[in-house]
């Protein structure tokens, strides 16, 4: 029988460095939006502002939550795309092993989104707003925990096979809690840092709100630092190679940038502080990326993948991205410069 040779899809459509840059950059943006949303919710519940949810800063935050959710979801698409491109084999495998929990992510995100809208639009009093926000928070906690479980499992192909042999029904939650709990707590600390920062920025003209924001920003930074250190030491055999990799530079850069953000924030140098925090986030996300590569050594080597660049298509993407950014900037400018009574 003559068999027609069909096209392969093994090659990466761009050099690995470019895909890594795009992944790290877009994932950092996703984490930033998610931090404002998830961390903002945590801060709102923890802040106990005078007047509670009737406080102007709280009210403003509640009306902003749906848009923050939209930003989180939208900015989450691109990093998932680039992660699938390179790490699809281990990522899908882990997702299948935890199939039902993985499938629960978009469903819970959808419910959380609907609850945030309900909280923003309800006219049935503060009690109802609190209820909707708590439900949304529960949804986001589920999503974050599941991501930590699945992504930590994705880095352990051998463990995936063992768990799958025991249960192929998609009801496996990563049983090795130590593999993901510190990672999740560290993410939670980082989220609280960004949420506190965002809360303080929103309430910069209100002393109580500003102080609460600063408080949670500091608590978050401290918690992220502590849990991050513990997480680092749970790396075990990976610690040594990590110390010799580019990851340690990214991590150091991330920590320094995040620490620089603290005094700048306390002095209300918000733009500089935000920039420093953003750079810190970028460093952390890259360090996370290096840890994944180290853990996958012997199972998946992205550097060994063949590359068949599609430069023309990449150029088209770059042009579309620039046009999109220009459109975003133009629309935001129109919106925020408009006189509230303009129409």
């Amino acid at each position: 029988m003559i068999v027609l040779a069909l096209p392969d899809y093994d090659a990466l459509p761009a050099p690995l460095w470019l895909l890594t840059v795009l992944h790290v950059l877009t994932l950092s943006l996703h984490f930033a939006a998610m931090g404002c949303l998830f961390g903002g919710l945590l801060t709102l519940f923890g802040a106990r502002l005078p007047g509670g949810l009737e406080h102007p800063c709280a009210k403003r935050l509640v009306t902003l939550f749906p848009s923050l959710m939209a930003a989180t979801v939208t900015l989450g698409v691109a990093p998932l795309l680039f992660a699938q491109l390179v790490y699809g084999r281990v990522l899908y495998s882990a997702a299948i092993v935890s199939g039902w929990f993985w499938l629960g992510i978009p469903i819970m995100a959808m419910l959380a989104y609907a609850c945030l809208y309900a909280a923003a639009f309800t006219k049935q009093g503060v009690g109802r707003v609190r209820l909707w926000l708590l439900l949304a928070l529960a949804g986001l906690v589920y999503v974050s925990l599941t991501y930590s479980s699945v992504f930590s499992l994705a880095e352990r192909p051998d463990a995936q096979k063992t768990y799958y042999e025991g249960d192929a029904s998609g009801l496996v939650w990563h049983p090795d809690v130590t593999a993901w709990i510190m990672r999740w707590l560290h993410m939670l600390g980082g989220t609280l840092t960004i949420g506190g920062f965002f809360f303080g920025v929103l309430g910069r003209r209100d002393e109580a709100a500003r102080h609460k924001g600063q408080f949670f920003f500091l608590v978050g930074t401290g918690a992220a630092f502590l849990t991050g250190m513990v997480y680092l030491f749970t790396l075990g055999d990976l610690l040594k190679p990590f110390m010799k990799s580019a990851g340690i530079y990214s991590l150091t850069f991330g920590i320094v940038a995040a620490l620089i953000a603290v005094p700048l924030y306390l002095k209300q140098r918000l733009w500089l502080s935000g920039l420093s925090l953003g750079l810190g986030l970028l460093g952390m996300v890259h360090a996370r990326h290096v840890v994944r590569d180290l853990r996958l050594e012997g199972h998946l080597d992205p550097a060994a993948m063949t590359v068949d660049p599609q430069w023309g298509l990449f150029a088209l993407f770059a042009v579309c991205l620039l046009v999109a950014l220009a459109a975003v900037a133009w629309m935001l400018r129109l919106f925020f410069r408009a006189d509230a009574a303009g129409a």
């Binding site: 795309l81 699809g88 192929a168 088209l316 459109a327 629309m331 919106f335």
Partner: protein, 510 residues
């Protein structure tokens, strides 16, 4: 097979359909509704029609909530689901079209922001700027369709990509343009139908009647564009090729889906014409809801048809629904399938069933195979697996070797009722028993009056000749030998001979 197999009792088809149909329904509305909003706003502002503007503001709130919460997240959910159900197919699509998806994402970012600012900007932005953002929204949303349409149609008609592997050959495939016109029409149609539904609740009579009528005409315009797109679809050469026509003829589903689609579209068109354009006073929310249900039914039927004629492929002519690549299966020969499975359960038969059958069939439940194999035996089942790709229902060839076929046959046989049919159905004998035997052992490949009809073959045969054929072990590589007992064999012969009796019924078991 580098991925584990998700063993869920939920059928893969219904799970995918539930999320995908909901998503395409909302996302098409997201495009057409955006265009309707901005065009209607322009008209209302020119006429300084304040009640109409108030309606449009309400519609935009409904629009933003529905498209952002349900539309965007069901889109993300599709990614999550296809990764679970068809990881190989998803990997092939992402590796091939990653820049297409990345480009679509840039439009998605603009679309989401514009939808939010359009809704929140009613009282904040000047009319000109507000409408400008509305136009940006529509442009970004439609451009998303322009991109994603290339990937969706690629799965049905990959065209020259199968030879070149080039992005643009796959993207601008034979059904790209018909699908774009058809889907653009559906977008406009759904935008109008949703507007009719929302407008049905306007309390002020004159505003309600004029708004309903306008939205109805809008919807009918979309229907007209859809019909043009559908006509273009019918003219695509590749869809009249044997592989598609055969599938459409062999399966019940494509025909059924076409009928549902035509009926739903006719009902929707007539409904819009009567209840929105001619007699808008009868248009109220329940009537609008009924129109939306017709639209959902039409959309669901169209997507079902598209999925059904693609069988047994996930990417036509390239990758089967079970994730096996066509060229590798054909070149495989006696290659072991089990050796290619990276994630094993410890049970060979179960693994072979998962990676060969379970993407489309459960043992019991969704598209169950048990009823097909009840009354047969391991020898028959493993023999049938050798010819599974020539059965009436389009299926991929078995990708393992002969030994694995026997293992899978035995594994399935342990889970079905292998007693002879006269024991399963006590009291049934003669021609009736023969009909059951034919149904169990022959009809999957030889339907009477349909696919693989063998009535002409046996026309001049006597009972002894048929017995000889049944005893022949090497009739064809793809046909299992007869392994029933003597009672079943005699009944089968009696049944076959009954075809040529004068009062033989025209229809026989499928």
């Amino acid at each position: 097979m580098p991925y584990p197999f998700w063993e869920t009792d939920l059928g893969y088809g219904p799970l995918m359909a539930a999320i995908a149909v909901l998503h395409v329904f909302v996302s098409h509305f997201a495009i057409g509704g955006g265009l309707y909003l901005v065009v209607a706003e322009r008209g209302a502002r020119r006429r300084a029609d304040l009640p109409r503007l108030a309606f449009l503001e309400r519609l935009s709130r409904f629009f933003a909530l529905l498209t952002l919460v349900l539309g965007a997240l069901t889109g993300v959910a599709i990614w999550f689901v296809i990764g679970l159900l068809s990881p190989d197919g998803t990997e092939a699509l992402i590796r091939t079209f990653v820049w297409g998806w990345a480009i679509e994402w840039t439009f998605f970012v603009v679309e989401v922001l514009a939808a939010l600012l359009y809704y929140y900007g009613w009282r904040r932005l000047s009319p000109g700027r507000h409408m400008a953002i509305g136009w940006v929204y529509f442009a970004a949303a439609w451009l998303s369709l322009v991109v994603i349409n290339g990937i969706v149609t690629f799965m049905l008609t990959p065209g020259a990509w199968l030879e070149t592997g080039a992005f643009w050959d796959g993207f601008f495939n034979p059904t790209y343009w018909p699908s774009l016109v058809l889907r653009t029409g559906i977008c406009i149609l759904l935008g109008g139908t949703f507007a009719v539904y929302v407008a049905g609740g306007i309390p002020e009579r004159d505003t309600r009647l004029s708004t309903v009528r306008g939205a109805g005409l809008w919807g009918l315009t979309g229907l007209l564009v859809s019909v043009v797109g559908f006509w273009m679809y019918l003219r695509v050469d590749v869809l009249s090729q044997e592989s598609f026509r055969e599938v459409a003829d062999r399966l019940v589903l494509p025909g059924l889906a076409t009928e549902y689609m035509l009926v739903a579209t006719a009902l929707l068109g007539a409904g819009l014409l009567i209840t929105a354009v001619l007699l808008p006073r009868i248009q109220r929310r329940p009537v609008g809801l009924l129109l939306l249900l017709f639209a959902l039914m039409g959309m669901g039927s169209f997507e079902t048809y598209r999925e059904a004629v693609r069988k047994p492929y996930v990417i036509h002519g390239y990758m089967y629904g079970n994730g096996q690549r066509k060229d590798r299966v054909e070149a495989g020969g006696e290659e072991s399938l089990l050796e290619r499975i990276a994630y094993r359960t410890g049970d060979d038969g179960r693994d072979l069933f998962n990676y060969s059958c379970r993407s489309c069939h459960q043992l019991e439940g969704y598209r169950a195979i048990k009823p097909f194999f009840d009354g047969t035996d391991a020898a028959y089942i493993s023999g049938a697996l050798a010819g599974v790709h020539v059965m009436r229902a389009p299926m991929p060839p078995f990708a393992g070797n002969a030994e694995e076929r026997a293992v899978l046959g035995a594994w399935i046989a342990e889970r079905v009722d292998t007693r002879p049919l006269h024991e399963i159905h006590p009291g049934v004998e003669g021609i009736e028993l023969g009909r059951l035997v034919y149904s169990a052992r022959c009809a999957s490949c030889h339907a009477i009056g349909g696919y693989g009809d063998v009535r002409e073959t046996f026309e001049d045969f006597e009972a002894e000749d048929i017995a000889e054929v049944l005893a022949d072990n090497e009739m064809s590589e793809e046909m299992p030998r007869f392994s029933g007992d003597e009672t079943e064999r005699d009944a089968l012969i009696e049944y076959i001979l009954s075809w040529y009796e004068e009062d033989a019924p025209e229809e026989a078991p499928r």
